[in-house]
Point group: C2
Chain length 559, copies 2
């Protein structure tokens, strides 16, 4: 394939908007053209899950305001695979962009199945296939099959007149994946032989030496566990890990057990995978209504909820809150998963709940029941030996992972290694790679049914409410500045009594009255003066008793 | 030593109030006597740290209401060692009990040093020594030295006419502790030879096979790291781990570096340990004011904050918010600690902050820089071989640890193994061990300067505020039920705009007006009717726009 020669002022730039920070949402931008007239390719549009430092928010979304500004110059959005941290923001944010989206069949299928249950606008997705390059503006794009923990994960070869970038997406090496093909080493080597400018590569496991085990080894271990089980055995895993689902179904069949699927995300992934033939040759999956009819030693459960999510199948079963499925002493639950950082406490709570009920629990501490889908250091070394890039740009990781990856790449002799921050625009060519611009990148939050920033969604104020509660006060004064009625107080989320056992509302009430009395009558007719004086007095009175100042809303009416 | 024969109706019971649940505060009660007239021994009085599911609370304290009821029958409180989860509630809760407290010198010293900086009432503590048994009511108590991650950890031999209990407290086996003596195997064997009724034993590491490394191995590894460091090297560890402090000081001395101590808890532990001779033979420790004068290659920092605590020395240094100490690219920070479950996210944030600043980070993933103070399975096996109890009662662990410990004890042939819940009263003798009573056990929370239950402290309401915010409304009606002024609305912690970009307060305002208009005028004169109607309307209007219903305070005045 030949490319036109680059224009004199053309540049190739890369800018991450997510994927190189402390949270895992991925969004990378490639730009080609002269500085003031670049064409953009968007790679992935992922989410991250909100932790308890964002009270009430569910999901963190990337800030697409720069993309909105540049909307007219975006050639397309390329989705590498169907994990939430790579494509989870598409439904919410595509309406702001309305540019073409490209993905392979499984990704498109899973997106459309999700959209059906979570209605939004229509998002047209163009199907692409690995090994069939296509042009997008000045770019030529090729999807390259890589092994990962979901069907159809892809690296991208992005060709431009200034050189080729390999953007790996999420990948590992696995010569014997349970489903799909191994990472396409031949294709990566061939592109490496052509010459690669930059490798933009997954850093998740860059701190782990060695090489990850194969899914086939996990499958053997799961089959052994199912074979040894006497009563019910349940597996909880990531719904989209269809290879794992396949391994569990094969283990069940070998032990003459039926697989009962519980949880919406799990059923959805199985439906989509089934339509694409990924579950061919397996006995049919049953649904939860079949559970009651199956003897305990003839069932394998496949459950959502491996991260301790309170609404998912496993948590509801542990809470005895599931209408169709329950577990009894002597049953076994296998966590065929790992704890995503931050979920350790809810996961431990689930495990403890199971053990209290006499259910045996097997986790990845007890045996090979899970393996990561990301490359450890020996796998990274192999990728670098195939691609031989001029520039390495570690992405997909926290700073500690990016630093470990960068050190490894330097050790392998990559001439230029650049660790950059979200919003940094790195010129890859021409010349030595250099950060040439910086875009302010905020974050968006999905909270209830709305999306917005930290202040706009009220999250920052809710942190204050969560810390110190709220006191509402209503003061009604006559035109002469006399109290027309006793001030009313409504406290929420503050202690009921002080250290001496007196109701805190009495102290607040006394503080309000004292403040009003201390104000000259003329000033009492100014609602703003009264409001501020009462607010300060209430916060001080509560702080006196409690050491903390609540949020305070004061209504003042002067009749 | 001889004991009087037991009375015909005497029983020996054990009841945990903390220490066998999901959080780590320890409080065990031993009772001896006839059912209606027992004498109690309290073992430990610990706290747990509150997680984000308890917004605004700092610390979880055990519910001592049963102890308060039985106050007249409590012979004493025995503290095994000075970790917060064993003695942290003493300052707050002793005033409710006012019974004698027993502890060894280091525990007493550390308690008094803490009390000095956090003033409360005087708590008289009686000094005890290992190997010097003493009588407490019907009990005879002997402290037995055990190795752990703090000086002067003790197991207790509690003798009664119905038999002897060994309560291990926290322990491990370490033939070469850096400080203090190894676990007193000879004494435990001798008591085992006399015959032990029950072993109440630490379960923390009951899921880990093998045997823990020795503190001396950790010391060697730390010395190697200090020797190899080119610039500043900082260690963060648990302040009370004086053995670790000693190892770090020795490593520093060998590399001709000075140790600079930063953080109040660290200085306090060093002062107390120094007075008791535990730091004899070491060069003096310097304080943070000396930092500025020391060349980078001549300093070892010893810092608080290994758990990511935002106020501690390390976090403040990372935030460049420390007045005396800073780190530069090329310096090294060693986390000589492990993440307490739930702290993974703030600790990772710290590590990432350091790496962003070019500081090298070493954790227990990278080398032997920490070792747990709790027994792994081979150590437990050894303890059981010495003590040979009739009854095993696993404590100090989550249900998963207790279950693993119980399985191990059964495998070792212990005749009776009982896993019980907080508040279960287990009769240890006479007869087969059996739960004979159950006490309702709540939890207390320290929040600001007050202590109380979940509802009484407002924590439950703050969870609702954290999720969905607050709307305050003020409605003033004339005696005829007409609006006297426009209703006022003050929203906190809800989104500013709806999905169409309209201010949410406008929708709330419209809902309030609509509701008032729809109420018959006669009903509008009843403030309670108006209040409830407005509350419902506001919550619905917000839910319509946002999918979530806020907490709502409505003030209604009918003039």
């Amino acid at each position: 394939m030949t490319m036109p020669p680059p224009g004199r002022r053309d540049q190739l730039v890369f800018m991450p908007i997510g994927g190189v920070g402390e949270i895992g949402m991925n969004l990378g931008l490639y730009g080609y053209g002269p500085e003031r007239d670049r064409t953009w390719l968007v790679v992935d549009l992922g989410i991250a899950f909100a932790g308890p430092d964002l009270p009430g928010a569910d999901v963190i979304l990337p800030d697409v305001s720069y993309l909105e500004e540049e909307r007219g110059n975006i050639a397309g959005i390329l989705i590498t695979h169907a994990h939430e941290d790579h494509f989870g923001a598409l439904l919410d944010l595509w309406p702001r962009l309305r540019v073409p989206v490209y993905a392979t069949a499984f990704t498109k299928g899973l997106f459309e199945a999700k959209r059906a249950s979570d209605p939004g606008g229509d998002v047209p997705i163009t199907l692409v296939k690995p090994g069939e390059p296509f042009d997008l503006g000045p770019f030529n794009v090729e999807y390259i099959n890589v092994a990962h923990s979901i069907p159809e994960s892809n690296a991208l070869a992005i060709r431009t007149p200034l050189g080729t970038v390999i953007h790996t997406g999420d990948w590992k090496l696995d010569d014997t994946p349970v489903l799909g093909l191994p990472t396409d080493a031949a294709r990566l080597k061939a592109i490496g032989d052509e010459g690669v400018l930059a490798l933009v590569c997954d850093s998740t496991n860059a701190m782990r030496e060695g090489r990850s085990p194969s899914e086939t080894e996990v499958a053997a271990s799961l089959a052994e566990i199912v074979g040894a089980a006497k009563q019910r055995i349940a597996f909880t895993t990531f719904a989209s890990n269809v290879g794992r689902t396949r391994s569990i179904a094969l283990a069940a069949a070998a032990a003459r057990r039926e697989v009962v699927v519980v949880g919406r995300a799990m059923s959805r992934a199985i439906d989509v995978a089934g339509e694409l033939g990924y579950l061919d040759g397996l006995p049919p999956f049953l649904d939860q209504d079949d559970f009651a009819h199956l003897p305990r030693h003839r069932v394998v459960l496949l459950l959502t909820g491996s991260q301790g999510e309170p609404r998912a199948a496993l948590a509801r079963i542990v809470e005895e809150d599931h209408k169709a499925v329950d577990l009894d002493p002597g049953d076994t639950v296998v966590f065929s998963s790992r704890a995503i950082p931050g979920n350790e406490v809810p996961i431990n709570r689930l495990i403890n709940g199971l053990i209290r009920r006499g259910v045996k629990v097997i986790t990845d501490h007890d045996g090979l029941v899970h393996v990561s889908g990301h490359p450890r250091r020996d796998e990274l070394r192999e990728m670098y030996s195939w691609v031989r890039p001029q520039v390495a740009v570690p992405v997909h990781g926290e700073p500690m992972h990016l630093a470990a990856h960068a050190e490894l790449a330097r050790g392998l002799g990559v001439p230029e290694v650049r660790v950059i921050a979200d919003g940094a625009m790195l010129r890859l060519a021409p010349g030595r790679p250099e950060v040439v611009d910086h875009v302010e990148v905020e974050r968006l939050y999905r909270d209830g049914t709305l999306i917005g920033g930290l202040e706009a969604m009220g999250i920052a104020e809710r942190r204050r409410l969560a810390f110190a509660g709220h006191v509402g006060v209503s003061v009604i004064l006559s035109a002469k500045g006399e109290l027309d009625a006793d001030p009313e107080i409504m406290a929420t989320g503050i202690p009921i009594r002080d250290g001496a056992g007196r109701p805190l509302e009495e102290a607040i009430h006394a503080a309000v009255l004292g403040t009003l009395e201390s104000l000259p009558r003329a000033r009492r007719r100014d609602p703003e003066v009264v409001r501020e004086a009462v607010r300060r007095a209430v916060r001080s009175a509560v702080a006196e008793a409690w050491g903390k100042k609540p949020v305070c809303s004061v209504f003042v009416a002067v009749l």
